[in-house]
């Protein structure tokens, strides 16, 4: 049965019902009044009062019935809207619920499901392409790196040739890092990476990273300070968490101004460890903030060669945080302070403090 016929039936039914009630009550009242008027000779004005006394409740009944009716008729649409709202590139395989009764809404759900299935196919193809491309690039890269390195060891090279060769090798290594990062992200997308989880003392990782960051920052005169650093334990993959912290710290150095400042802190809030790292660099324009985690995104394309990164660092950071069931956020006040805040669930409420 289509919605149109269904709604028509309901509508006619409600109308008939309320009409009958109104008519029935009115006729009954009128009949009685008519008798009484004949006995006492009263005027017809009371009829208005009768209509008010009976008509208003009947009208309210119709409104209530209509409201209930529409809600019932539109409930499947609301459900479809909610379900469609939840669709994103990661859950395309989930299907919208179907009533199975063959009405318009059921057909709509089916069409939407077919559409998400096609989208899912496209996403899968893109992911597979990235995965295969990054994999296929590895063999020629291995050969290029190996041959250039072999050439570099050739004793008969002139200093100029050696320089040229070494610079080529530097670029090849850079390319290798980009391909490695792409592979990592492609595998993460395809769900091919399993984290090796263990209890990790986050404060120790932060102190390690602090020492490394201070060394990295020496050349540009950037100061690195550690504020509060509570003893906190999370369940995580120590290698990935190290990678995350160094990645964020390295950004703090690269995108800082000379003689700038980096401040790190690790504190606890309820069931979460909150790591924050702030730098005094030029900051990120507000319109770029929503895109900083996008792959290969750069705030300022003109300066893409100043810093050595490849534009995948924050995407990887975001993946690592998400894989640990945490959240990452960037706030920036231009020319003042850019703060990255990472929240990770603590291992146990008590395990954090000693």
């Amino acid at each position: 049965m289509t919605i149109r016929t269904r709604m028509t039936f309901w509508y006619v039914g409600t109308l008939l019902f309320s009409g009958l009630v109104i008519a029935g009550l009115s006729i009954k009242e009128l009949h009685e009044r008519h008798h009484r008027r004949e006995e006492r000779g009263e005027s017809w004005e009371d009829v208005v009062g009768i209509f008010c006394g009976v008509g208003i409740p009947a009208a309210l009944l119709s409104i209530g019935g209509g409201w209930w009716l529409m809600r019932k008729a539109l409930a499947p649409i609301a459900m479809l809207t909610d379900a469609a709202e939840r669709v994103n590139e990661r859950n395309l395989r989930e299907q919208l619920p179907r009533s199975g009764n063959g009405d318009e809404l059921d057909r709509l759900a089916e069409v939407l499901n077919r559409m998400t299935a096609r989208l899912n196919d496209s996403f899968t193809r893109i992911r597979e392409f990235t995965l295969h491309a990054s994999h296929e690039l590895k063999t020629p890269l291995t050969i290029l790196c190996g041959e250039t390195e072999t050439e570099l060891r050739n004793e008969s090279l002139t200093p100029a040739q050696r320089d040229h060769c070494a610079s080529e090798l530097d670029e090849l290594r850079r390319l290798t890092r980009i391909v490695d990062s792409l592979t990592l992200l492609a595998k993460a997308d395809a769900g091919l990476i399993t984290l090796t989880l263990a209890p990790v003392r986050l404060d120790e990782l932060v102190r390690d990273t602090l020492a490394d960051t201070q060394m990295l920052a020496r050349a540009s005169g950037v100061r690195v300070e550690l504020g509060e650093c509570e003893e906190l334990t999370v369940r995580g993959d120590p290698h990935r968490l190290r990678q995350l912290l160094l990645n964020l710290a390295d950004n703090g150095v690269k995108y800082n101004q000379p003689e700038g400042l980096i401040t790190m802190s690790l504190r606890r809030s309820d069931e979460e460890a909150i790591f924050s790292i702030a730098n005094t660099g030029p900051g990120i324009p507000a319109e770029s903030l929503p895109r900083v985690f996008d792959r290969f995104f750069r705030c300022d394309p003109a300066h893409s060669h100043d810093a050595e990164g490849c534009g995948l660092g924050l995407s990887i950071a975001q993946w690592i945080v998400a894989a640990h069931n945490g959240t990452i956020q960037i706030d920036s006040v231009q020319s003042e302070l850019t703060t990255v805040t990472v929240r990770l669930p603590l291992l146990k409420p008590e395990a954090g403090r000693t």
Binding site: T142, I143, G146, E147, R153, R162
Partner: protein
């Protein structure tokens, strides 16, 4: 030391063979899994460099077969995949070490050399290069009678370099052994630490000991 290289990609096999030969290894090369099994069961090798992706029988299957037939030759796995999962799978199958592609030749050579050393060679408590000594028990560094203060990280880096004096240590191997990073962070972390160490142990002394091999890695030795 005799090494078997199993790699189907001819060019890769060729430069691996050259690099190992240049370091004084005797090298045999196979291009597929079945030849590798035949070669490894016929000849006693000191180490096997085994690619995972091979036509026909793949590297992991060759490795499992070797271990099943009680062949304990140390194996270094090469893989273009290079993710933690494969590393764990390879090591579980009986590999002694694992190197993801693309690798630096210097890393490969260092790891093959380490395969040969596995379990052998007692570690001396005092490491010495020229007039610089590093006591691995007290963790004290001295040069020309002067005690040099080192941070924990600087000590670990120096110890790693001094365990193989005169040999080039690749940047990736340093990051892995000294920092416990299994990824290339894309920073110049190693370079800044080496620079700092130079200020500490080379600035006021002759001869210079820490040398950069451009594009390749670092080496600690007396002569440049």
């Amino acid at each position: 030391m005799r090494v078997l290289v199993v790699e189907d990609e001819k060019k890769t096999a060729s430069f691996v063979r050259k690099a190992l030969q240049a370091e004084g290894f005797a090298v045999d090369v196979c291009h597929n899994g079945n030849d590798a099994l035949a070669a490894a069961s016929g000849t006693p090798f000191d180490g096997i460099v085994l690619d995972i992706m091979l036509p026909g029988r793949d590297g992991l299957s060759v490795l499992r077969q070797l271990r099943e037939s009680k062949n304990a030759t140390p194996v270094l796995l090469l893989s273009a995949r290079g993710e933690v999962n494969e590393r764990v799978e390879g090591l579980n199958a009986g590999a002694d070490d694992y190197l993801p592609k693309p690798f630096a030749l210097v890393e490969l050579v260092a790891r093959v050399r380490a395969l040969g050393r596995r379990g052998g060679e007692p570690k001396s408590p005092t490491l010495r290069v020229s007039d610089f000594t590093l006591d691995t028990i007290t963790r004290q560094a001295q040069r020309g009678g002067v005690t040099i203060e080192l941070t924990a990280r600087e000590y670990r880096l120096l110890e790693y370099l001094m365990r193989s004096p005169g040999r080039i240590c690749g940047r990736m191997a340093i990051l892995e052994k000294v920092w416990d990073y299994d990824f290339d962070p894309g920073t110049n972390l190693v370079d800044v630490y080496i620079k700092r160490l130079r200020e500490k142990i080379d600035a006021d002394f002759e001869p210079k000991l820490l040398h950069t091999v451009r594009g390749v890695g670092y080496v600690i030795k007396e002569s440049p």
